[in-house]
Amino acid sequence: MSIQNIERRRFDALIIGAGGGGLRAALQLAEAEASVAVVSKVFPTRSHTVAAQGGMNAALANVLPDNWHWHMFDTVKGSDYLGDQDAIEYMCRAAPKVVYEMEHFGVPFSRLDNGKIYQRPFGGQSQNFGGDQAARTCAAADRTGHAILHSLYQQNIRAKTNFFDEYFAVDLLKDEAGNVLGAFVFNIHTGEELIIEAKTTLLATGGAGQLYRTTTNAMINTGDGMAMALRAGLPLQDMEFFQFHPTGIAGRGMLITEGARGEGGYLVNVKGERLMERYAPKAKDLASRDVVSRAIYTEVKEGRGCGPEQDHVMLKLDHLGTDVIQKRLPGIRQTCITFLGIDPAEHPIPVYPTAHYTMGGIPTDRFGRVVTPVKDTPEEVVNGLYAAGECACVSVHGANRLGGNSILDILVFGRAAANHIIDYLKDVRYHKPMDENSVDRAYERLHRWDRTGDGESVEQLRKDLKRTMEDNCGVFRTRDILENGVKEVHKLQERMKNARITDHSGLFNTARVEALELENLMDVALATVYSACARQESRGAHSRIDFPERNDIHWMKHTLFFRENCKLDFKPVRTKPLSVASFPPKARVY
């Protein structure tokens, strides 16, 4: 279709992504009678929120004593003091309300005998600022993400939200002043392009776990929103911090929830030793994820791994009994039976650290507004653009996310962004004219893939990228490895210029979608290796063998990566909370 004839539709708010963050925001906006369009490349309930297992944190104190301030302390400590304490306070204070709302929306939480929501212990949780283990994670068996995503979609059906299912967002549209005014998208079914003009745009596109070969992430997690932000000239923040979940099924990557250890499971090495006793004497298996992942990696490296290749450790659950496993962990039990042919009620599960979560993302403030440095101001608001959830970096997770805080993050900040949008819409009554050049650029990006002839295959490039990231940007890092990573990703980007697809059909062209996704991954990969190469310290998930210590004097700051010339910048951590005293950095022991 020629660019002049492309249909244009207008909405108050455009939400890109229909996982928990996008749907929570959509619901808030629809109920405020704003006109909302939700664009998603998959039907909403296929979004990756559906795969979250263990639960969401909130200091409800249904099982053990708790309060939001303890939750805040654990989150700050878990972040290795890189999290912004104003956003963390906001999230932890909002958590109980957000959980109760979700319950009212219909989430079938597991229950305690008194009828209240069931809560289980999770990693990095404590009572009384580092005291005894807390039980803060609200769960619907081990299918909490599914329960939350479906309930949110259902409530959006009630609220009559406008869905553009199986539409792919190509790029953001702007005016010359830099205001974001919508997006250029196309209908995957028909191939027809559409320009969505919106007074506000919320990116809620999730993470980029497809950067890695072995990942718990779904195939759709290709960092689309992050790459759109980069192409719009905005930075990505703290991309060097990528979480490796300690317990993916070894060699395959399916997630085994931290809830398995929360319910009493533990890790053993080839000698049958409880290995975490050595690395985290107090919290043991419920230490933070970065700590447990490094412990497993070290056990294997030092020859105490299990199996014929000695390349994994075992997660033992059989002592919990079939009843507990069936009641609290039915989903992972089924996954083990399906993919390993073993029942965890009888046999231990082979596990190994697996790429899981993008701590970094599009920088925002605690209202979900995207912020970027302008001249001497480190955080200038980008008008009309919001981001929430895994694609964003608000930053509540800092250098390491606590289990149970991701579903909380998407709901708290999806909702907060929507509330801010509602206010913004009161002042901004009309659509601004957009810079047609930004439409042209998006159109060109899409139609670049119409070219024919010989060239590199997208599939091969994707494989090479995943291998490169796994080899050069994994759990432990050094300067040499990372510099090689930078070089290799640059080479892949060069090869990408010569890539071709052979399918040029307009109808449900999955080859074209995959090519666009790979372009997105390439940009996000570059942000990740550059940021990792720059940070000369070890903090949270970023472990440098050549810089094994945390360095608060030089590195207690956020990294910002810009696509243009691969420029890096930094900005201070917001250490001042909203109402309580700041938690100063301390040695992090579990």
């Binding site: 559906v50 009212h104 079938p108 597991s110 229950r111 059906i157 993919f339 449900f508």
Partner: protein
């Protein structure tokens, strides 16, 4: 291993046809989705949906050797050769294995699949006993893959009047939820010769559900509650 896969691109094909593929590198534990991805590497024009690769997103429902299932949790070693793969039956085909799910989603929307509470909401959770919560097990886990409904002869015969097992399972999920206060309306809406009562307990749905759910039993429970209510 040999595969015969349904191909149809309305832009270029007059009618659907079956394409044969061969894969030599079959490893133990490989799922059908792994095979489809390997085939797609060789032939990127083959269209199918997929995402999570572990049976929770519900994208890759398809008809495999005559039975509906999810490709990502179907072991190749359980399949007879040549493996014949077709789109889910009785939904319009968009392309290859990709069907238009809209009729299926409409059935879902038709049962008003959302918790309805009429009383004022407390500032905390609505209480529910563990026993009452247990009543939702086997109902809430549905992933909307469409395997059950498109395997149901009653749906094939009356796709626009019978709601199909997936939507009825959802109806049951809310009827059984002790927190929901629209039970009467829900039951009234189903009291119709077709919507619910076209279920003839053929039980194809139970056989194919990749999550091990039992829509037939859920439909039976709704019928029982209806009878009780009318007495």
């Amino acid at each position: 291993m040999r595969f015969k896969i349904y191909r149809y691109n309305p832009e270029t094909d007059k009618e659907p046809w079956m394409q044969e593929y061969r894969l030599d590198d079959i490893r133990p534990g490989m799922m059908l989705l792994d095979a489809l991805l390997a085939i797609k590497e060789k032939d990127p024009t083959l269209g199918f949906r997929r995402s999570c690769k572990e049976g929770v997103c519900g994208s890759d429902g398809m008809n495999i050797n005559g039975t509906n299932g999810l490709a990502c949790i179907t072991l190749l070693s359980d399949l007879k050769e040549p493996v014949e793969i077709r789109p889910l039956p009785r939904l319009p085909v968009i392309r290859d294995l990709i069907v238009d799910m809209e009729p299926f989603y409409k059935q879902y929307r038709d049962v008003k699949p959302y918790l309805t509470v009429k009383d004022p909401l407390p500032e905390v959770e609505l209480k529910q006993s563990p026993d009452d919560r247990d009543k939702l097990d086997g109902l809430y886990e549905c992933i909307l893959c469409g395997c059950c409904t498109t395997s149901c002869p009653s749906f094939w015969w009356n796709p626009d009047k019978f709601l199909g097992p997936a939507a009825l399972l959802q109806a049951a999920r809310f009827i059984m939820d002790t927190r929901d206060q629209a039970t009467g309306e829900r039951l009234d809406a189903l009291d119709d010769p077709f919507k619910l009562f076209r279920c003839h307990t053929i039980m194809n749905c139970v056989q194919v559900c990749p999550k091990g759910l039992n829509p037939t039993r859920a439909i039976g429970e709704i019928k029982k509650i209806m009878v009780k209510k009318s007495l």
